[in-house]
């Protein structure tokens, strides 16, 4: 162990990474390897409530968010949680924090399931002292702010499953959860699949509703009891606040999830689809997950053609759902969509109306501290990365310059699929993606099976079964070092080392709550 200037004690974990032993005043367990850390103890236990303290009429509405926060006992140093299903269209999270600030509250911990550029004004609240720090994915400006070392506490990056684990295990105690709900009744039952601000599943808010001391539902579409379906159960909700609008529908569902037009990226997608077919993963009853990025969507499109040609039907596909998955469902090429979040209008309409399009939660799909989780049953998952090293370790949170610009999402949790494919261009802005060592370790190489680039496909030598399975294929299967060398020639060498200080600004948690790596302040 070593201690650095600002007296954060550091240790080297099982991945050889230097990580703090204490984060925001809480002792940490260092990453011990995949499946090595064994949890102790019992789950978090919320206070017992009594119906005697709630209106027997079931009407939990209060005048406004300020009243709700006051009645929840808002005070300095509390943790306020929000969800990100409204994405960059969300108005509620910022509104809750700004209201708390207006009430004079200080040193709040904001615990979003993710943050977006729309939440950039939280920087002002941090500068003014109302918000102490953020634990949660910080996309864009907030991540940048964090890497500049300007946040008072350490950022804590967790996967979607890791966020559930942290709440469930009591590592993060939520004082007040503020849940933006596209539809709700006065009792607090809520869903995201209906209403003018419909966003699909509300799964990321489920743990908050179950474990927070107090829960506020904010809705712009109040319906008569019962609000059906009730993905958020009113029995966990304290107050309901009715507002004109919870967000900007145009930014909630982007409507712009589009297949890449880049020839290189289309080639990657095609390689991956062909690999899934040729390695025998695409067989009757198989399953896959692909995100909403341009390559992933193109992959789905290619795979659909192969499925049609082969007469192969999937048992289920996991989303991030888009119209490409909805088309598979409608065409009978999959029995079910198991939906983690819903990205476009077609998917929102589908989840609202098709019983085969099923909302899930991080509990069912991702939580590593449960009795198993769905994503280990997925046959193949296609993911992205900012960097991957020659041992197949990967990074999704920082760029090669060390700046924190992305959240983990479900990425870590998906690595437990039967076959994990990183579909990445071999370089971006003339910076090679395959590196000697990743800037920030987000996923251990032993869980990453295939790296697919436009210059060839590298199969992890640990997966002899996949190497064998792909032998007869016409695909350009190559050792990862070969691809690396070729790309370095094109780019004029290895990427520059990032200019980092010795000051930790955030940590990356592994799915079991241990600390996998540190994000360091960037030298200015």
């Amino acid at each position: 162990m070593s201690t650095i200037a600002n007296s954060i004690e550091l240790a080297t974990n099982a991945a050889g990474r230097v990580v703090p032993t204490n984060v925001n005043g809480k002792p940490q367990r260092a990453y011990a390897g995949v499946n090595h850390d064994h949890p102790q103890g019992r789950k978090a236990a919320p206070p017992i409530r009594t119906a005697a303290d709630y209106p027997m009429s079931g009407d939990k509405r209060v005048a406004d968010l300020e009243t709700a926060l006051r009645q929840c006992g808002l005070s300095d140093g509390m943790t306020i949680s929000t969800h990100h299903h409204l994405r960059d269209g969300d108005r509620v999270a910022l509104w809750a924090l700004q209201t708390a600030a207006k009430m004079g509250t200080r040193d709040l911990m904001w615990f979003p399931s993710a943050s977006f550029p729309a939440h950039a004004p939280v920087i002002e609240l941090m500068e003014a002292g109302n918000v102490h720090h953020i634990e949660g994915s910080m996309n864009g400006p907030l991540g940048d702010y964090c890497t500049q070392g300007r946040m008072r506490g350490l950022g804590v990056l967790r996967s979607h499953g890791g966020r559930w684990q942290a709440i469930q295990d009591g590592e993060v105690h939520i004082d007040i959860a503020v849940i933006a709900a596209p539809t709700a009744d006065a009792f607090g039952n809520a869903n995201g699949s209906h209403g003018p601000s419909a966003c699909g599943s509300l799964g990321f808010a489920l743990a908050d509703s179950m474990y927070a001391d107090r829960v506020i539902v904010v809705t712009d579409n109040l319906v008569e009891f019962p609000c059906v379906p009730w993905q958020i159960q009113g029995n966990n909700v304290d107050y309901v606040v009715q507002v004109d609008s919870i967000g900007d529908p145009a930014k909630i569902v982007s409507g712009t999830t589009q297949i890449t037009r880049s020839p290189d990226r289309l080639l990657i997608a095609q390689y991956v689809a062909q690999f899934v077919r040729d390695a025998g993963i695409m067989r009757p009853g198989f399953s896959f997950q692909a995100g909403a990025g341009g390559i992933a969507l193109a992959f789905v499109d290619y795979l659909r053609r192969f499925m049609r040609q082969g007469g192969v039907r999937a048992r289920f596909v996991r989303g991030g759902s888009t119209r490409y998955l909805v088309d598979l469902l409608k065409e009978g090429l999959t029995d079910y969509i198991l939906d983690g979040q819903t990205f476009d209008l077609d998917a929102v309409q589908s989840i609202a109306s098709d019983p085969r399009h099923i909302p899930t939660s991080p509990f069912t799909s991702y939580n590593y501290h449960g009795k198993g989780f769905f994503n280990s049953l997925v046959d193949v998952v296609v993911l992205g990365a900012t960097e991957v090293d020659v041992n197949f370790n990967a990074n999704v949170v920082t760029h090669s310059d060390g700046r924190l610009l992305h959240g983990i999402g479900g990425w870590q949790n998906c690595l437990f699929a039967g076959c994990t494919v990183l579909a990445v261009p071999s370089f971006r802005d003339r910076i090679p993606v395959i590196v000697d060592q990743v800037t920030t370790l987000t996923g251990p190489g032993e869980l990453i099976d295939v790296v697919a680039t436009e210059r060839g496909i590298a199969i992890n030598p640990r997966r002899k079964d996949l190497l064998d399975a792909a032998k007869g294929s016409s695909l350009p299967i190559r050792p990862i070092h070969d691809i690396q060398r070729e790309v370095e020639k094109i780019c004029g060498g290895k990427p520059q080392k990032p200019r980092l200080t010795e000051k930790p600004v955030a940590v990356v948690k592994w799915v079991d709550g241990t600390v996998l790596d540190t994000v360091w302040k960037v030298r200015s």
Copy 2:
């Protein structure tokens, strides 16, 4: 406080009832009045598990129930829970207990959500020492066994909501939950709405699955992952056991839920329906709950005619669902059925296929230690009783001779509806139903609003609003004492006092976990 021969300390509670201060080794809170007891502390916290201990393939099947019980660490003195959705057709509960007995286990506490005559062989297991005692509704032979004072521990009777409350609050710790599942996958996701042994909702098993240390799903209809819907979540399940049959379908859904043919009982049903109409409860968007008994079904049938005549549509109806409720749904006379348990084949088919027919759980509908519960939003509920006294206190568990023959079911929880109607014949077997004081207090009179008999309707004087509302009606509205006097004349006087000893054999819990009354050993 007083102490009786067998050294159980007694106290008098707020209802004036003498109750034990300690039950089966656990200190008790005495009933303090409706909405008077304020809970302390935090909910039960199950152990944190890790996916590392479960097969990543998701296949949790083991060879047989004995293997599953052994791997769950079955040992003497443990609590085993089961659910009663298979009713008198259930084979799994008895099988689990008999398997445990065969394995030599002793002193088990059986914690069913209810027991039926099919479970009478548990008496042999109690006699042999394998089962110590039962906490849960004991219908028929087991109740009789208990009232004879032959069980080693005290019976504890809880409402469906009270059972959830007891598990959630940690008053009952379940070591192993054994869940009979009409459909399940190898991961443990399960539902009751599909398969050859379909029983509808599995809501009574939900708390068990969430809070038990170990959970075994037993199914005779294994489907490929994902089992949809997953009312029981595989993420809470340890082992899956596949068997030929979990029960006798003919007894799971009785198929015999029939409207009463008794002219007196039809008259009661008609009075109640007319009261609901004339008192203005039957208005657009109203809601009601009625059980599956003969009078309740006839009430639904009459009310349906009034609803048609008045052009009135309900927002929701609560079941115990039967084809009478399904017909309302199909006819567009209600928007939703919120289903607690599913009684006949029409209802099972409906819940499996109609998204407006929604399974609920005791958490949503009944749990008094939540942030409210659905049943306080129901406008009118029609219930039965074995006895009701002149202060509107009622009994549903014992007969006038003191014998324990019925469980509480959701009865206590339903009392929180806007208007609670007891629809009862004025006498049974020449024994008056309206008494000076009930043998066993199950429901406080302040929550019971109307007693409807074939000889007239008594409205609780506390409900001046209902007295006013019913003023213009042609109904025979009479003081309860008048009806009592008339019936006593017919029956030749008041009922005989039951011949009871001073030995408690069971307690009746109130919805908040306090002890409402005691069931005493019957003098033999």
